[in-house]
């Protein structure tokens, strides 16, 4: 009796502490950077689901919100031929890894589970490569949101702006009231977020496609683009002087405390707002960013699976890919994360007001061809070109002496050398 317990305990210890190669049966090692409370809780749902289906989960988190640390570790693992079974990646990163021919083909599973019908159609081109599926989308975030503090707006008698001109008027009034109009963190990606919203809000969906996705020189050099940069320059005076380097969640805190009126940020901001016990549509409002009503700017987190010859690992990979699209997981995870499901057929009953609005807006945007990939979050362009936009926009925004024309010139030459 005692002996058997001892053996059992040793076996448990071994399976817990040593590599998965020792444990028999399907297994999957998952590399990700979802280490914050709500994200980890969301991922835990997937882990439990897989364990119910007999798959052993081995967690390989690499902390660091932008995922750059994880990419570094992942590259080293791939170069040394010890790739994890699965890794988290943005839409364009899926394409980059797929062109290195390291991702497992998921087409058979996709046919069996009928992915073509259930996954949001705008995601499909980015999770497939040369006609086969190579990744599974977990969630869809929206980046063209404007969050505003309702109390501040009500006491000033203001309505949320629907165009950039209105945005400027509202901001002037908030300034007069002594409230910082726009909460912003001066990190390059947050400034790029503002830029992409200005491109879409001022130029419209077709201009967004030409300028940001096709990087068409005529569009980049157009008067519309000058207006976009002029708008960014105006926004210099609608933010507080203390913004450089601030994290996005600290900017959200400014809206929560009423120090700032608005923030333009993706729907992960909801996590901060609900942590502060604020209710959507009561304490804060969510509306599309100025001029972007009817459009849905999306970004996704996906899991890609690295090729392996180990049968148990292959089984684990397929089980995980299938579980990610499980309706129950899609619902539970996305409620926690603040995003909406990558499937278009999940019930939205349990989601909050802004989640439901996002889901409805996506359906509408899909019909009118206004569902667009986000530039700031690696969905519209590859890392090199996104980098050019990031550098130019961030330098422009934080250096008042740079003119809109100079910024456009830098953008065009930079994008040319990034070919």
């Amino acid at each position: 009796m005692l002996n058997r317990n001892l053996v059992l305990a040793t076996a448990l210890l071994l399976s817990g502490s040593t590599s998965m190669a020792l444990a028999g049966g399907p297994n999957v090692e998952v590399m990700h950077y979802w280490t914050s409370g709500s994200e980890a809780a969301g991922l835990n749902v997937l882990k439990k689901l897989l364990e119910e289906r007999g798959v052993t989960w081995s967690d390989s988190p690499v902390a660091g919100g932008t995922g750059m640390n994880m990419v570094q570790v992942l590259r080293a693992r791939i170069a040394s031929d010890t790739a994890p079974a699965a890794a988290q990646m943005h839409a364009q990163q899926v394409q980059a890894w797929a062109s290195e021919e390291v991702l497992t083909d998921l087409t058979d599973l996709a046919k069996k589970d009928d992915w073509a019908k259930v996954i949001a159609p705008e995601l499909v081109p980015l999770i497939s490569h040369d006609g086969s599926y190579v990744a599974v989308p977990v969630n869809v975030h929206r980046s063209n949101w404007l969050w505003y503090n309702k109390k501040v707006f009500d006491s000033a008698g203001l309505q949320p702006p629907t165009t950039w001109d209105e945005f400027n008027e509202v901001s002037e009034k908030l300034l007069a009231k002594g409230v910082t109009p726009l909460a912003l963190g001066g990190q390059p990606w947050q400034e790029l977020d503002l830029f992409e919203n200005a491109v879409l809000g001022i130029g419209g969906a077709d201009f967004y496609r030409k300028a940001v996705i096709d990087e068409d020189e005529a569009a980049l050099r157009s008067d519309t683009m000058v207006k976009v940069f002029d708008q960014l320059r105006k926004m210099n005076k609608y933010i507080d002087s203390n913004y450089p380097g601030r994290d996005w969640n600290l900017a959200t805190q400014m809206v929560i405390k009423g120090e700032a009126g608005m923030q333009i940020m993706g729907d992960w901001a909801k996590g901060e707002l609900s942590l502060a016990n604020l209710q959507p549509n009561v304490d804060y409002g969510c509306v599309p960013a100025p001029g972007t009503k009817g459009s849905y700017v999306w970004l996704t987190d996906n899991f890609g699976f690295f090729k392996t010859k180990d049968k148990d690992k292959q089984a684990g990979q397929l089980a995980m890919a299938s579980a990610i699209l499980d309706k129950g997981f899609q619902e539970a995870f996305n409620i926690k994360k603040g995003s909406i499901p990558s499937r278009i057929d999940v019930s939205m009953d349990k989601f909050d007001f802004c989640g439901k609005a996002a889901f409805a807006d996506r359906a509408e945007a899909q019909k009118s061809q206004k569902s667009l990939p986000s530039l700031a979050h690696n969905a519209a362009a590859g890392a090199t070109k996104t980098g050019v936009f990031t550098d130019v926009v961030s330098t422009f925004f934080e250096t008042p002496s740079v003119t809109s024309q100079q910024a456009i010139e830098q953008l065009v030459t930079g994008l040319k050398s990034a070919q």
């Binding site: 980059a96 507080d240 450089p244 961030s394 250096t399």
Partner: protein
């Protein structure tokens, strides 16, 4: 017995020589053998990968290394990147100011501590403590101290000086100097320790003789003591130079390259291109530029060192 004994002995000795040649060889080369693994590792892991980085900088590598050669294209792209040029300007501003100010403050502290003051150990420890911190901690602490809404500016304003401004951290024109401030704070104590050791090594009889001849303290330091600190200066210079060139964590923690990309240094640029922008070859090209700059600074020092050793023997 007495006649056979020497014969036996020589036979034995011969046997020992023949049978255990390997042992003898081992004994003679033990030190080389002990060093061999580390030499091999360094050859591969340091010099091998230096060469490899050089090779990659001539390829079209993006996300993972490939061996499709493109000549000097990546160097051309590197030098046409405006942020690389900012980074190059910055490293010169940063290195010159950092080395100069840290040396001067370190030397001044050393001279002050050298005045046979009370509780010398206490002061030495205080000045050395910053060195025990990593640059990440230094950078984060100074990020808060220099932030206009949290640190010095806010404090002085709360004291009543409402128009006080100290917003270098958020001003692209001055942000690079905040790196100098934090770097100097971190390294001055260490420089002090180096100079203090050198000061203690100076023969006291000379200073006593100078004092008898009527020289003041200032003159003694200026004409007798400081000129003798030459080797210490060289050590300080080489250590601070390599610290300046590889400054990476300080930038990451303090400014993250901002505001407006004004504080990038070559090391942060290299990291960003290689891992954030899928431009491994451009990253490698920038690494080669850094390597050549360091070589240009350190090679004369190594050369003179090697020559001195040769002259000594």
């Amino acid at each position: 017995m007495s006649t056979t004994f020497p014969v036996q002995q020589t036979a034995k000795r011969g046997q020992w020589r023949e049978g255990s040649g390997a042992k003898l060889w081992l004994a003679r080369n033990a030190s080389q053998l002990a060093l061999a693994p580390s030499v091999a590792i360094i050859l591969l892991a340091v010099y091998g990968f230096m060469v490899w980085t050089g090779v990659v900088s001539f390829t079209a590598s993006k996300m993972l290394p490939t061996y499709e050669f493109v000549g000097f294209d990546q160097y051309w792209r590197l030098w046409s990147n405006p942020i690389w040029r900012i980074a190059v300007d910055n490293i010169f501003i940063f290195a010159i100011l950092f080395i100069a100010i840290a040396s001067i403050i370190g030397m001044a502290l050393a001279i002050l501590v050298d005045q046979k003051i009370r509780a010398e150990g206490f002061f030495r420890t205080i000045y050395l403590y910053p060195m025990a911190l990593s640059f990440i901690v230094t950078g984060t602490a100074w990020k808060w101290i220099l932030n206009p809404g949290l640190g010095i500016e806010r404090m002085v304003r709360l004291w009543g000086w409402d128009s006080f401004r100290f917003d270098w951290l958020v001003d692209p024109r001055f942000a690079i100097y905040t790196l100098v401030i934090a770097g100097v704070w971190q390294s001055s104590g260490f420089v002090m320790a180096l100079f203090l050791a050198a000061l203690r090594g100076i023969d006291e009889d000379i200073t006593k003789a100078a004092r008898l001849d009527g020289a003041g303290s200032f003159q003694i330091y200026r004409r007798i003591i400081i000129p003798q600190l030459g080797p210490a200066f060289l050590t300080v210079f080489v250590i601070l130079t390599q610290q300046a060139v590889k400054s990476f964590d300080l930038v990451v923690a303090l400014t993250a390259g901002g505001p407006g990309n004004s504080t990038h240094l070559p090391a942060t640029f290299m990291y960003m291109q290689t891992f954030g922008r899928d431009q491994m070859a451009v990253g490698a090209a920038s690494a080669m530029m850094i390597f050549m700059t360091v070589t240009a600074v350190v090679a004369p020092y190594l050369y003179s060192d090697v020559r001195k050793q040769r002259d000594d023997t």
